[in-house]
């Protein structure tokens, strides 16, 4: 009687162990599947070790109200040039610091020598995307030769 009870008890414990193993295995497989689905791969790049081009970098001031966006989206460098037409051209290199695909919006604003904002249809919110680890150049061209300064606004996309 006692032996029977022990056998049934051990069978029960063994059964529980099997169920636990199956559950663990299922969860591990599910997690692996989910991770494989989420991780779409990051961007690898190759370029000249010593670039010929020399960027005219400018000293910038950064104000961030979204710490999450700041953490994910890095501003690598800001450089400027002048177009053949004498217009100020700004190029901002941004980097997706995560390994996930991300989408965000940006907008260039332009200011004249008096600090007054210059209105133009070209100053609109633009949606763009970055793969994990990808860097991209955001380029803006001043709408008039009178523009001396700029501001780039960045915001997380909701679409």
């Amino acid at each position: 009687m006692k032996n029977n009870f022990c056998c049934r008890l051990s069978d029960g414990i063994g059964g529980l162990n099997v169920i636990n193993h199956v559950k663990l295995l299922s969860m591990a497989l599910l997690a692996a599947g989910l991770l494989a689905g989420c991780h779409t791969g990051s961007v690898n790049t190759v370029e000249r070790a010593e670039p010929v081009a020399r960027r005219q970098l400018i000293v910038d001031k950064r104000i961030s109200h979204d710490p999450f966006l700041k953490q994910k989206l890095g501003i690598v460098a800001v450089n400027q040039a002048t177009t053949p037409a004498g217009l100020l051209q700004i190029q901002v290199e941004i980097l997706n610091r995560t390994s996930s695909y991300m989408r965000f919006n940006y907008q260039f604003e332009w200011f004249d020598a008096n600090g007054m904002r210059v209105s133009t249809p070209a100053s609109t919110w633009v949606t763009t995307q970055l793969e994990g680890g990808e860097s991209k150049f955001l380029t803006g061209v001043a709408p008039t030769p009178a523009c001396q300064d700029f501001r780039l606004k960045l915001i997380k996309s909701i679409n």
Partner: protein
């Protein structure tokens, strides 16, 4: 008791009137704008115009005229999308930007099929005879193309905005293209 009922009724009316409308103003082209897959949304026109204006201004081609600002005429735009398009949603933005830049002005008295955008200005022009043989330095033409694909419940639309600027010799001295691709899924239930 009556006072209590009146208060509750007023509160209910106030709440209901507050919840009745979900309409709100949003900044045109901002991230709060509605996005649809099979249509060109206003932010798509804005983004295409932004890219074209930047490209055209950066090229410096408008400065290669003997007597600036350059004179621009609007030529044919071909619409190969599934929807009816008012080209001014794109072209007017480009015109405004070029006008404000001081790099180009648009001739409003000259159009395809002898149609003037501004007929009165055409009459004035005929009277004053100010053109003196210089009708336009450049003509702007373009094409809108839509490519749609489906895979399962996923739908994807790509809208291509192609623009060309031709000079008096008939040569395209500036050309650019902006593609905007949108993806979405159909609901599993419904039509």
């Amino acid at each position: 008791m009556n006072k209590y009922l009146v208060c509750v009724s007023l509160l209910a009316v106030a709440l209901l009137s507050g919840c009745g409308s979900s309409a709100k103003y949003v900044e045109t082209g901002s991230r709060r704008s509605v996005v649809t897959v099979g249509q060109i949304n206003i932010q798509d026109y804005n983004q295409a115009a932004e890219a074209m204006i930047n490209s055209l201004l950066a090229s410096g081609v408008l400065d290669r005229v003997p007597d600036p600002p350059a004179i621009l005429a609007i030529s044919r735009f071909v619409n190969n999308t599934s929807e009816q398009i008012d080209i001014d949603l794109l072209v007017k933005k480009i015109r405004v930007a070029l006008n404000k830049s001081g790099k180009a002005v648009t001739r409003t008295t000259w159009g395809l099929g002898d149609t003037a955008e501004d007929p009165l200005a055409k009459e004035l022009e005929a009277t004053a005879a100010t053109t003196a043989g210089r009708m336009a330095d450049f003509t702007l033409s373009g094409k809108f193309i839509e490519t749609t694909v489906h895979a399962g419940r996923t739908r994807q639309s790509t809208f291509s905005f192609q623009l060309s600027l031709s000079d008096a010799r008939g040569l395209a001295v500036w050309e650019d293209e902006k593609e905007i691709t949108k993806q979405g899924t159909r609901p599993s239930i419904g039509f």
